[in-house]
């Protein structure tokens, strides 16, 4: 009996540590410790390790962005802050860090048209999954209010108004949801200064300059070149190793 206990204990000591170490939460805590001690390189590596295991969270991207920022990689920092915006866009710390990182880039301020600014604000109202649950909630409320109006025999006009308001709310919400998905699906961050060319080939004429941390919209991928658009509508080609898309899992290729 005692022999079995000893063997079990040995197995536990050998494998338990490894199993627990691979838990994302444990790795996250370890990375935080590294960060607190000023070892940003090691902290960033551990955060990346969690991402490579197929797990992601808003706080993970936020902390990873901080690590890159401390290492002076502003482009990577902004990239991960924007990824974190997909999870908690209204977080005050995230908004402050993101704004600060954007303020020290060399690129132009992201102005764009009135619609573009409206679209970005709309896209970042809610998190990725919040859009889904809010849509469900709105649908439930619409159904409930509709049945209530029938049950309490509201006036016909009032019923129509309630239904129309509910449907409009759903449509607007769906519109912002689409904007959100489009924003994160197409957006990419420039990781190193580069000239955007008129044609996807080496030696082509340069169209405009982008700098580390600049956001671009990826329109098309062709071999190792990406057709990107800046906020002011200028379009051109740069190699895919100069930028990285926000949505992980979608490779640049």
């Amino acid at each position: 009996m005692s022999k079995t206990i000893v063997i079990s204990l040995i197995f536990y000591l050998i494998f338990a540590g490894k199993v627990f170490a691979e838990e994302p939460s444990a790795v996250f805590a370890k990375a935080n410790t590294e960060y607190q001690q000023g070892r940003y390189e090691e902290a960033g590596g551990l955060y990346e390790q969690i991402l490579e295991s197929g797990q992601e969270s808003g706080a993970l991207y936020y902390n990873l962005g901080n690590s890159y920022f401390k290492k002076g990689q502003i482009g990577k920092a902004i990239l991960n802050y924007e990824r974190a915006l997909d999870f908690f866009p209204r977080d005050a710390d995230l908004q402050a860090n993101y704004a600060f990182a954007r303020s020290i880039t060399r690129g132009l301020d992201e102005r764009g048209t009135v619609f573009a600014r409206f679209a970005k604000r709309g896209a970042l109202l809610l998190a990725r999954n919040e859009y889904a649950w809010v849509a469900l909630f709105l649908l439930g409320v619409l159904a409930g209010v509709h049945l209530m109006s029938l049950s309490f025999n509201w006036r016909r006009n009032l019923q129509t108004v309630v239904i129309m308001v509910g449907l409009l709310a759903l449509i607007f919400h769906g519109f912002f949801w689409v904007l959100h998905e489009r924003f994160f699906a197409r957006r990419a961050i420039v990781l190193k200064d580069s000239s955007v060319l008129f044609e996807p080939r080496e030696g082509a004429t340069a169209h405009f300059q982008v700098y580390e941390g600049d956001p671009v919209e990826v329109l098309k991928i062709q071999d190792s070149w990406g057709k990107v658009a800046r906020f002011d509508g200028k379009e051109g080609w740069i190699t895919t190793d100069h930028f990285e898309r926000l949505r992980r899992g979608k490779t640049n290729q």
């Binding site: 808003g58 706080a59 020290i104 999954n129 649950w133 159904a143 949505r247």
Partner: protein, 620 residues
């Protein structure tokens, strides 16, 4: 004339002359040049001599060539050229002569002197050689200007096309820039597709060549078309090294028939102008090499070399700009250092600001455009005690003075205001949480990012979308089903309330079951009167609701008509008639009804209701 108008005309004329660069009072530069189209001519042929006077529009009388024994001259005519390029007016006057040798030998055209507009100018002497036809093979088919057939003397290739490599200095310091010029000289040949020259110089770094320039130049009396390439070079290490040769690759255009028949030497007799229109050309590649130069590279002196000297050689100017200079703690300052000079910009290390207790410094962005190197760097003051952006300096070695020279820039006075307390929440969770909120003490603040999150939050599988989950789909389905069910139930309720016939049909089975149960109870207690009352009431209630008939219409005499069209069997209708008659009889003579008859009545009613329900269900 109106004085005011006259003044305006004077001003206009003066302004026009200023713009076009024509100065009526300026002295003209006059020069005189003599050149021949080739220096070797065969007996019986001729060569062309051109005497050009630049800076004049014409001469009062032609220039007379001196009599040369054995050489006959004939004036072909004058040519005048006038051009205004970039406002610069220039003119030239040329006289073209044909020279015919009368014997074999060497002839010297002496230096000619000309006096024009009180200036005396002189040409260079020219030596030409006349050879016999046996010494110079004649190129068949070549025609001269004027139609007379004459041969073109084969000259040495190196005299008709050659490359000259020139360096501005042959004694330079390591990393010192010097000019390199490669000239391609062409005389009377059709040269095409001229490539940029290649220079063999392993111990040197060469910049890219600039756009080539083209012009004419007379060398030893022969006029050449010149293509000139310029660039800069830097020596990489001290010592004595070969520089060059420069190799130039081009293509010679020759007529197809000549090239095929006469081999390589045939095209030298080709005339540049003969094949201008529509002849068949063959392009033959040609590589020409220049001579090699010998350059001496001197090392940079150790004496006086500053510690932060980065190896820049040349004359440099450093300019610095920083903005804004009035800001708050944590606000970024953009510094822009511009280094301009004639040295190697690739190796010139522009100074950068390093992080210290006063400033946080970010990596600079450096760009090089020609002779200018620009560094843009963001620095952030950490506290309000910072009074200036520190000065920076750039050290270089000036080869002209052979001394190390410093180019300082800055410092820039700063006015750094402390952060106000109300601004603090902008940096939530930052390292500046240890701020002293007392207004009486000076804040020691910096702008930085907020601290990391302690908790990871909920981990999702990468790319997880809630709307794709089973839970989301289930909830969505429940909402839609609930909505649909609620709506249907509402419509049903409304119909029950508003459609009496529909409601009656729904109630009829209920009344039937309840009535039959009552009748069964009376049957069990053998209460004849109660039983038949219950049977009568059940029939009345059931058929009133089922058939939507008034109560009075349900009687033995008219019940048959109520069932018309429903399809109920005749025996069922008969049993119902009998049943209603029994009910009436039982009220007044209940003694004649025994239990068996009551049970038969009960069964008849149950069978009749069952059959009617089936028929009506089918019908409705």
């Amino acid at each position: 004339m109106n004085p005011h108008r006259f003044f305006k005309i004077i001003v206009f004329v003066f302004f026009f002359m200023m713009c076009t660069g024509i100065s009526p009072g300026a002295a003209k530069e006059i020069s005189f040049q003599a050149d021949v189209d080739r220096t070797i001519v065969e007996l019986g042929s001729y060569l062309r001599l051109t005497l050009t006077v630049t800076g004049v529009d014409g001469l009062d009388q032609p220039i007379e060539l001196p009599q040369i024994d054995g050489l006959e001259s004939r004036l072909l005519g004058p040519q005048t050229r006038v051009s205004i390029i970039n406002g610069q007016y220039s003119s030239s006057y040329s006289l073209v002569y044909f020279l015919y040798p009368l014997r074999v030998g060497t002839f010297k055209i002496p230096s000619l002197t000309l006096t024009v507009e009180n200036q005396t100018v002189q040409s260079e002497p020219i030596t030409i050689e006349a050879v016999g036809t046996s010494q110079a093979p004649v190129a068949s088919g070549s025609t001269s200007e004027g139609g007379a057939q004459q041969g073109m003397v084969q000259q040495n290739l190196s005299e008709r096309i050659f490359v000259v490599l020139e360096a501005s200095r042959n004694d330079v310091y390591v990393n010192e820039r010097f000019d390199v010029t490669v000239k391609l000289f062409v005389n009377g040949m059709d040269v095409r597709n001229i490539s940029y020259p290649q220079i063999k110089a392993q111990e040197f770094f060469l910049e890219d060549f600039q756009q080539p320039a083209q012009y004419e130049q007379v060398l030893e009396g022969v006029r050449y078309q010149v293509v000139e390439f310029k660039t800069f070079a830097y020596a990489l290490q001290p010592g004595a090294f070969d520089f060059g040769p420069a190799e130039e690759t081009c293509q010679l255009a020759i007529r197809g028939d000549q090239g095929r028949q006469k081999g390589f030497g045939g095209f030298f007799e080709d005339d540049f102008f003969n094949d201008f229109f529509g002849r068949n050309y063959i392009l033959r590649p040609l590589t020409i090499s220049s001579k090699t130069l010998q350059l001496t590279i001197r090392p940079l002196p150790l004496e006086g070399r500053p510690a932060d000297f980065s190896g820049a050689v040349g004359k440099f100017v450093l300019d610095a700009v920083a903005s804004p200079l009035q800001l708050k703690v944590g606000d970024p300052i953009t510094t822009r250092l511009t280094l301009a000079g004639n040295g190697n910009m690739r190796t010139a290390e522009i100074p950068i600001f390093k992080e210290n207790g006063d400033f946080k410094a970010y990596e600079p962005q450096v760009t090089v455009k020609g002779n200018v190197k620009i560094s843009e760097q963001v620095i952030i003051p950490k506290h309000s005690g910072v009074k200036a952006v520190p000065a920076v300096s750039f050290w270089s070695f000036n080869p002209e003075t052979a001394r190390y020279e410093e180019q300082p820039a800055g410092p820039f006075a700063l006015n750094v205001a402390p952060l106000e307390v109300k601004e603090l929440p902008q940096i939530v969770g930052s390292s500046s949480r240890t701020l002293n909120f007392s207004n009486t003490q000076e804040d020691v603040l910096g702008k930085d990012i907020s601290f990391i999150k302690d908790r990871p939050g909920r981990f999702y599988d990468r790319g997880y979308q809630a709307w794709r989950s089973i839970f989301f789909g289930t909830v969505l389905a429940l909402i839609l089903m609930g909505w649909g069910f609620g709506y249907v139930w509402h419509r049903f309720s409304v119909r029950v309330k508003t459609d009496e016939r529909f409601a009656g049909r729904l109630k009829a089975p209920y009344y039937a079951r309840r009535g039959l149960k009552d009748a069964e109870r009376f049957l069990a207690s053998n209460d004849v009167r109660g039983f038949y009352d219950a049977i009568h009431a059940t029939v009345q209630q059931y058929f009133r609701n089922r058939l939507h008939k008034p109560l009075g219409s349900i009687s033995a005499s008219n019940i048959r008509s109520s069932f018309q069209g429903i399809g109920v069997q005749e025996d069922v209708v008969s049993s119902l008639e009998r049943l209603l008659v029994d009910c009436d009889a039982a009220r007044y003579a209940s003694a004649q009804f025994n239990r068996d008859r009551m049970e038969r009545t009960f069964q008849d009613l149950r069978r009749a209701i069952d059959q009617i329900e089936r028929k009506c269900r089918l019908r409705f």
